[in-house]
């Protein structure tokens, strides 16, 4: 089974994140890492391949530093990497990103399963998996907290607020997974050493036959008009227990959809 995992390199949420003058995310001036939510599909892919053989290709679209996201995935155990890197991609929105990913996946060819994370931890749009499935003409089964693949079919469990659904799709399919699906491994020393020798291909938009005018900031359907710092955290709400503290607590949690 050949699996492509789409991963994103994002600014480290632990460090000071900023924007560029054109209101795009500053990816140069901050430390970045493999989006934590993308460690889950990498782990899921590795588990599937461990059980049934095949190859895991990690695919990323992003500037030079994004190679680190591929590196980390290779250290975890993925077999090879594809990095789409082109200056014209700067400022691309989800629509354009999904186009580039779709063309790259077509070029990779022979793919049984495309896995993605739930959302990127920078943009948190969560729309790329659906767009990608649409562009590839593949079934989309998203928000999987469990995934099994058998007999040419992918079966997922999706946990909603009030019920869990089990959904089946024929392969190839696009599946996005949640942070409930597994516990991602950390790279072993052997993995770290082996990753140095694993193949990584870098493709430009021309390699994919994608018109530079159809992606990037100018082609984006959405623009960031302005941004401001999050206001300092407000004082919390203090509820005095008058015998109904438990009820009030439950009401609060339920209103926030925690329970």
């Amino acid at each position: 089974m050949n699996i492509v995992v789409c991963v994103k390199h994002v600014p480290d949420a632990q460090s000071e994140r900023t924007f560029n003058e054109d209101n795009t995310t500053d990816r140069e001036g901050v430390d970045g890492l493999l989006s934590e939510l993308d460690e889950y599909p990498v782990e899921a892919a590795l588990q599937l391949v461990d059980a049934a053989q095949g190859e895991v290709t990690v695919l990323t679209v992003g500037p030079d530093q994004a190679a680190d996201a591929i590196k980390k995935s290779l250290q975890m155990g993925a077999h090879r990497g594809v990095h789409v890197n082109d200056a014209a991609i700067h400022g691309s929105d989800a629509v354009a990103t999904s186009l580039i990913l779709a063309e790259a996946i077509k070029k990779i060819g022979d793919v049984d399963l495309v896995l993605t994370g739930l959302a990127s931890t920078d943009g948190t749009m969560s729309v790329v998996p659906a767009m990608l499935a649409e562009r590839l003409g593949l079934p989309q089964v998203t928000v999987a907290s469990e995934l099994t693949v058998e007999g040419g079919k992918a079966t997922i469990r999706r946990d909603g607020d009030v019920a869990s659904e089990t959904i089946e799709a024929s392969l190839p399919a696009v599946v996005s997974v949640t942070d409930q699906i597994n516990e991602p491994r950390y790279p072993s020393f052997k993995g770290i050493m082996a990753a140095k020798k694993k193949p990584v291909e870098t493709w430009s938009l021309a390699d994919l036959g994608v018109d530079a005018g159809s992606v990037g900031l100018d082609a984006a359907w959405t623009t960031v008009e302005s941004f401001e710092k999050r206001p300092p955290r407000q004082k919390g709400q203090i509820v005095t227990d008058e015998g109904d503290g438990g009820t009030k607590l439950a009401q609060f949690l339920s209103a926030q959809k925690f329970i």
Binding site: S15, E16, E28, G29, V30, Q65, D68, K71, K72, Q75, Y186, P187, S188, F189, K190, I192, M193, K196
Partner: protein, 403 residues
């Protein structure tokens, strides 16, 4: 200016004040990150409890997990070992000891003492038999040099091996042996009669299920409580000829191993110090007295600045010695400088951190008193500060002041 990211503005990291991270490679950082993840998941949530109860109930499972990551004998080549660099090994020791010196000791004794001894001095058969299992964490090793009556002066040891036909028979006792009671194999140093009279020190690979071998646990420790320390009793332990290290003779054998472990301690001790510093720094921002966070008082800032400065100096020294080790130019006297400085300074940092935490400084709710007590062991094992001072003194003056 950041060498790897020319456009990047340098930023201040309180835990790496002078920016030493910038001279580590991506792989070195990846090694460190993996060790930290293991520690976060499998050590930190439990270690205060292990320390308090004075037990390491999961030693076997933990050894397996450490082995899976590649930590055991990580700087050795072949035989299932990961073949990492000395700097990688140092960074791993630092992270492990930021969790607990006892866990770092388990790894040091396994990799730098027991496995290194077999790897460096063992026969091919001994290597094949033990190293792959030890690297995987399936077999645990210990290293018996110190005796009840001889510590700093191991050359005077009394443990003795005599010939009996083709066999060797070991008698004697070893003391303070890390991993002893849980070990599958013990590297034991003993005196044998020399060919031309007199006696010489030889090393033996002793399976711990050999009749006559026992390893009673040492209790009542106030330090390194999340680590197994044992006595080794050797009562007529009969071993085949194949159990002896074929070539090495004299103190050079054990000392070569100690040199490896001491190197790891140069880094490891900084881990305990970093953890204590981190706790003190966080505490100084939260704890309010006289209407101010205590970190806003000059006396506290002076302590924090001192701690941070020593931490950074120690890290630079460790990294420098590590690069020398990887280049093959590290001398034992340089290791002594590192061990002497870094453990002494780490202990001072922990003691200062303990004062910043006030009463909480003595509570196991915080890591500080645990690290501080642990470092009392680290200070005197693998050569006391006095011994390392004498090594440095001799290197400087050419005069030996040991006797």
């Amino acid at each position: 200016m950041n060498a790897k990211h020319p456009g990047r503005k340098p930023s201040l990291d309180p835990l790496d004040l002078v920016g030493i991270d910038d001279v580590l490679s991506d792989e070195e950082k990846a090694v460190r990150a993996s060790v930290r993840q293991l520690c976060d998941k499998s050590i930190d949530p439990h270690v205060a409890e292990w320390f308090e109860s004075g037990e390491l109930p999961v030693a076997r499972e933990l050894a397996k997990e450490l082995g899976d990551l590649g930590l055991l004998g990580m700087h050795l080549q072949g035989y299932g070992c990961a073949g990492m660099s000395a700097v990688d090994y140092g960074l791993a020791c630092l992270e492990l000891e930021a969790s607990d010196s006892g866990i770092r000791s388990l790894v040091s004794v396994q990799g730098s003492l027991a496995m290194f001894a077999i790897h460096r001095w063992g026969s091919e058969e001994q290597k094949q038999e033990w190293l792959p299992r030890m690297a995987a964490g399936d077999a645990i090793g210990c290293f018996g040099l110190t005796e009840p009556d001889y510590g700093s002066d191991p050359g005077s040891m009394r443990t003795h091996a005599r010939r009996d036909g083709d066999d060797w028979v070991l008698d004697g006792a070893k003391m303070w042996i890390t991993n002893g009671s849980i070990a599958d194999v013990a590297v034991v140093w003993a005196k044998v009669d020399g060919d031309e009279g007199g006696s010489e020190i030889r090393g033996f690979v002793v399976p711990t299920d050999t009749p006559g071998f026992s390893a009673p646990l040492i209790k009542h420790k106030m330090s390194l409580r999340a680590s197994v320390s044992s006595e080794l009793v050797l009562d007529g332990v009969r071993l085949p000829q194949s159990a002896i290290f074929p070539e090495v003779r004299g103190l050079k054998g054990p000392l070569s191993c100690l040199n490896e472990a001491r190197y790891g301690i140069i880094w490891g001790s900084l881990g305990a110090a970093r953890s204590s510093f981190e706790a003190a720094l966080a505490y100084s921002k939260e704890r309010v007295q006289f209407d101010k966070p205590i970190g806003a008082f000059q006396l506290t800032q002076s302590k924090l600045a001192q701690m941070s400065t020593e931490l950074n100096l120690g890290a630079l020294l460790a990294l420098h010695l590590g690069r020398r080790k990887d280049a093959g130019t590290l001398l034992p006297q340089q290791v002594s400088v590192g061990k002497l400085n870094n453990v002494t300074k780490a202990l001072e940092i922990c003691r200062t951190a303990r004062t910043i935490l006030g009463a909480n400084g003595i509570s196991l709710e915080y890591p500080v008193i645990r690290h501080m007590n642990n470092l009392e062991s680290v200070l005197t094992y693998e050569g006391t500060p006095e011994m390392h001072t004498l090594v440095v003194g001799q290197a400087l003056t050419g005069e030996s002041a040991f006797r």
